[in-house]
Amino acid sequence: MSEHVVPIKTYVIIFLALLLGTGVTVWASFADLDFQLSGHTFPGSVIVALVIACTKATLVILFFMHVKYSSRLTWAVVIAGFFWLILLLALTMNDYAFRGLLTYPSQ
C-alpha cells in the first residue's frame, strides 16, 4: 500500500477555509442571529459557531490528518471515538434535561 501524498494546493485551500470559518464565527458572535421557532428562542450565534467548529474539525481530520486517504479501520476508530463522546454527553444530558418530567408515586 503506497502512501498518498496530499498536494500542497489542497493544504492551502483547507488552511484558508479554516481561517475563513474562524472569521465567520467571530462575526456571528457580534451579529444578532437569534431566531424564534415554535415558541422557543434559539441562539443563532451559538449554533453557527458550533456548526463551523464541527466543520473545521472535520476538515482537519480528513485532510491534515489524512483520514480521507486512510484505511477503513482508521475511519472506524475515529468515528467510534467521537461517537463515544456523544454518548457520554447525550446520556448524561438525558438526565439533566428531564428532571421533573416524571416523579415517583407519592404515598
Binding site: V5, F15, F30, A53, L89
Partner: protein
C-alpha cells in the same frame, strides 16, 4: 493482516525496523493505528471536561455569559489563527518528509514550534490579565460583572465555576501543547540526524496527528469559552 513471506532484503534490513515486525509496512500501520487509538483516549479525556462545561453552562447561563464577556476575543481569535497556521505548517512538514526534503522538513517543524510558542505566549498574556482582574478561581477570586444584556449582577459563585472550566480546559490544552513542543523538538533533532526519508517518516506523521488533535481541541474551546455572550452590545 501481515504478509510475512515476501519481504525483500533491502526492506527487511531497514535500520528502523523493530524485531517483532515482519516489514516496515506492518510497523508503519501498527504505529499509526496506535497513535489513532491514543488520540481517541484523549477525546474521551477532554470529553469529561466538555461534559462539565455542558452541564454548568446550561445550569448557569447568565454567569457563564458574564464570565465569557471578560475574555479577550481578539487575542482568542488570533490564537485560533495561529494554531490553524501551525497545523498547516505541520501538514507541510509531513509532506516534506514524504518527499524526502530534509531541509524543508526542518524548516516547517521550526515554523510549527514558533507558532506554538506564539500561542503559548498569547495565552500567558491572557492568564496574566485574568490574574490582575482577580478572575483566577480560589482564595482571591472576585467577580463584579453584570449578566450581559441585563442589570442583574452575575452570581460570583457560578462565575467562578466558569473560570475554573476556562483555566482547566485551556490549561489542560496548554499542557498538551507543551508536550507537543517536546515532541516537535524530538522530531527536529532526529530530522537533523537524517533519520527520515520517503520510506520511513512514521514519527513525523504520528507527531503531526498529535499536533492536529491539539488544534482540534482549541477549535472547540474558542467558541465555547470566548463567544458565549452576544458581543454586539445590543
Amino acid at each position: 493482516m501481515s504478509d510475512n513471506a515476501h519481504t525483500s532484503p533491502a526492506v527487511a534490513t531497514h535500520p528502523a525496523l523493530q524485531h517483532h515486525f515482519d516489514d516496515m509496512e506492518q510497523q508503519r500501520e501498527a504505529s499509526s493505528l496506535g497513535m489513532w487509538v491514543f488520540l481517541m483516549t484523549e477525546v474521551m479525556f477532554f470529553g469529561g471536561l466538555f461534559l462539565g462545561y455542558l452541564v454548568y453552562r446550561t445550569s448557569y447561563p447568565g454567569a457563564f455569559a458574564a464570565g465569557s464577556m471578560t475574555l479577550n476575543v481578539t487575542l482568542g481569535a488570533i490564537n485560533t489563527a495561529v494554531l490553524i497556521g501551525s497545523s498547516f505548517t505541520m501538514a507541510m512538514a509531513v509532506w516534506s518528509a514524504q518527499m524526502g526534503k530534509r531541509g524543508l522538513l526542518m524548516m516547517f517543524l521550526v515554523l510549527t514550534m514558533v507558532l506554538g510558542t506564539a500561542f503559548l505566549g498569547i495565552k500567558a498574556v491572557e492568564y496574566h490579565e485574568k490574574w490582575e482582574t482577580h478572575h483566577v478561581p480560589g482564595k482571591y477570586f472576585q467577580f463584579h460583572e453584570k449578566v450581559p444584556g441585563t442589570d442583574v449582577p452575575a452570581d460570583p459563585r457560578n462565575a467562578q465555576i466558569f473560570f475554573f472550566l476556562y483555566f482547566g480546559m485551556t490549561g489542560m490544552h496548554a499542557l498538551h501543547m507543551i508536550i507537543g513542543m517536546g515532541i516537535m523538538t524530538y522530531l527536529l533533532i532526529t530530522a537533523y540526524q537524517g533519520k527520515y526519508g520517503p520510506d520511513y517518516h512514521t514519527p513525523v506523521e504520528n507527531g503531526g496527528l498529535y499536533w492536529h488533535f491539539v488544534d482540534i481541541v482549541w477549535i472547540f474551546l474558542f467558541p465555547l469559552l470566548y463567544l458565549i455572550a452576544h458581543r454586539g452590545g445590543h
